[in-house]
């Protein structure tokens, strides 16, 4: 591939992977048949579009090639993660006509090259579920940690360029979480309290990330078994407060038959306890930006909701109306939105005045059930953010006031 016999785009892709592999000091590349990346964001760059349309955009932004090469179809299964704009609901979410047109054109261009337009941060909820031990090349921190820890597939946190190159070559550096020894737990978290609700799992994840940073923790002492929603929130929170890309829960996650096995016979480098005080610290950190209890915006579905979450929200909103000063947006993968529509959930949610749908203009005080959102919103958009349970959020939507708290 590097010699150019498979065309200039594949040659540029391989050139990037070799430079990237050398930067990591990786011993070799490994085959991958599952890529999740970001192809559709560059259409608003007038400089690149004028140089050669989406061929120039992909050459520069996804292959790190200033030279414009003609982009062939993807060689392996490749999915587009979240989009920048929600085209179907632009009347609600906004977006300039130019940016929407650029995204529409990007979908057509990359769709024609075999990039599946999943448009979600949760590819694993929309049909992309790799197998135990499968080598992947994924972006999106919350998806990476789910892929490694929950599915037992193997990926590092890849970027725009490495996923672009992987899609055209089916290769990625064999480094980090592709190597079995790097997947073992190095640190231990001992849970001493009941962790049950989705909010509890988000709080635990937020605390664990803050403690272990990029290390691989084993979490023991959990009395109730989680479901995929709880692990989605645990991982997203730990990847936000720290950089957790892999964790183990003995008896629950697939590479953790026992604590001893996940540690690989080693002693943990550090041990933390998670009790009432630690839970309280996580909760207070997540709510530290919020002052006003007058909530005007409620955001659910970060990472995107499962169908079960959409159904729960529909149940909570049945025969209710949002408060006049609030908006409620619920985010879901477009493939699942179809099912939510046909199941009547969307109708129930919209009848209450909420939307199933991407950040509004004019919101000041936000409520969310996502620790990840509560971590990023105050810093990135300057919004006061309340974190709590889904029920707390729905109550805020219907009353306009935040009344959540820890018992």
């Amino acid at each position: 591939m590097l010699d150019g016999r498979e065309g200039p785009a594949v040659q540029k892709a391989m050139d990037l992977l070799v430079r990237y592999g050398e930067a990591l000091d990786a011993e070799r590349l490994v085959d991958t048949h599952n890529v999740c990346g970001a192809m559709t964001f560059g259409g608003t760059r007038a400089d690149l579009m004028q140089r050669g349309g989406f061929h120039a955009v992909f050459s520069e932004l996804n292959l790190d090639s200033p030279e414009v090469v003609e982009i062939p179809p993807a060689r392996v299964y490749t999915c587009q993660l979240e989009h920048g704009l929600s085209l179907e609901t632009a009347h609600i979410t906004g977006g300039s006509p130019e940016a929407m047109q650029a995204q529409r054109q990007a979908e057509i261009f990359f769709g024609a090259r075999g990039v599946h337009m999943l448009a979600t941060c949760t590819p694993y909820l929309a049909g992309n579920v790799p197998l135990l031990g499968e080598h992947c090349a994924w972006m999106e921190s919350s998806a990476v940690v789910y892929c490694n820890a929950v599915l037992g597939a193997r990926t590092n946190t890849e970027g725009t360029e490495s996923t672009g190159a992987a899609s055209l070559t089916g290769k990625i550096p064999y480094w980090g979480y592709h190597i079995p020894a790097c997947r073992r737990a190095t640190h231990l978290v001992e849970v001493e309290i009941e962790v049950d609700s989705v909010m509890d799992w988000g709080l635990l994840g937020y605390y664990v990330g803050e403690m272990v940073q990029e290390a691989v923790p084993a979490i023991k002492g959990l009395k109730s078994r989680p479901d995929p929603i709880k692990l989605k929130h645990l991982g997203a929170a730990a990847a936000s407060s720290g950089g957790v890309e892999m964790y183990h829960i003995p008896g629950v996650t697939p590479e953790a038959p026992s604590l001893e096995a996940t540690l690989g016979g080693n002693q943990p480098l550090a041990i933390w306890r998670y009790g009432r005080a630690e839970r309280r610290i996580a909760y207070e950190n997540l709510n530290s930006s919020a002052v006003s209890r007058e909530v005007d915006f409620i955001m659910l579905g970060c990472p995107h909701c499962t169908l079960e979450q959409v159904w729960r929200v529909a149940q909570l909103l049945e025969r209710k109306r949002l408060h006049g000063n609030t908006q409620l947006w619920l985010f879901v993968a477009r493939a699942l939105k179809e099912v939510a529509d046909r199941s009547g959930y969307t109708r129930t949610i919209e009848a209450a005045g909420a939307h199933v749908l991407t950040v509004p203009q004019g919101a000041k005080v936000v409520a969310t059930d996502s620790a990840k959102q509560a971590h990023y919103l105050p810093a990135m958009l300057g919004m006061q953010t309340w974190f709590g349970s889904t029920e707390d959020c729905i109550a805020a939507a219907t009353t306009g006031r935040w009344s959540g708290g820890l018992e």
């Binding site: 970027g159 950089g243 990135m380």
Partner: protein
């Protein structure tokens, strides 16, 4: 003028020299920098408001979103990238980010560059030979 020599491993080859900008805080790409100017924008970051444009950026490593490389890539396209990067903790984010920044970069030093190098010191990188020469600011 005192000169200190560090040895480390090449991440991206080449030679560069310039003024050091040093931080003990890890850096976010997406949500952490303004790619148009190279200014650090993260709240509570010790370099908030300062630009790494044309500096030798000395930092512990990368954190945050998988958009890290895309943001440093965008800074390079805007002419706002650092001239060189020296860091301690190797991750896929910082490795790919350094590669697409097209500036000499090194890691795995014999001494901690965060301890040895101060902001304003003059730093010469020869990444191909794994050598960094630091001339302390007067």
């Amino acid at each position: 003028m005192s000169t200190i020599v560090l040895r480390g491993r090449k991440v991206v080859g080449g030679c560069a020299e310039g003024e050091a900008l040093v931080t003990k805080d890890t850096i976010s790409g997406w949500g952490g920098i303004d790619p148009a100017t190279g200014v650090i924008i993260e709240r509570r970051h010790e370099l908030r408001g300062q630009s790494f444009k044309d500096k030798i950026l000395v930092f512990p490593g990368a954190k945050g979103s998988s958009g890290w490389s895309a943001f440093f890539h965008a800074a390079r396209l805007a002419g706002a990238a650092p001239k060189g990067m020296l860091f301690n903790k190797l991750t896929t984010k910082v490795a790919l980010g350094a590669v697409v920044t097209h500036a000499p970069a090194m890691t795995a030093f014999d001494r901690d560059p965060l301890e040895v190098i101060g902001t304003g010191d003059w730093v010469k990188i020869d990444a191909d030979h794994g050598v960094v020469e630091v001339t302390k600011k007067e």
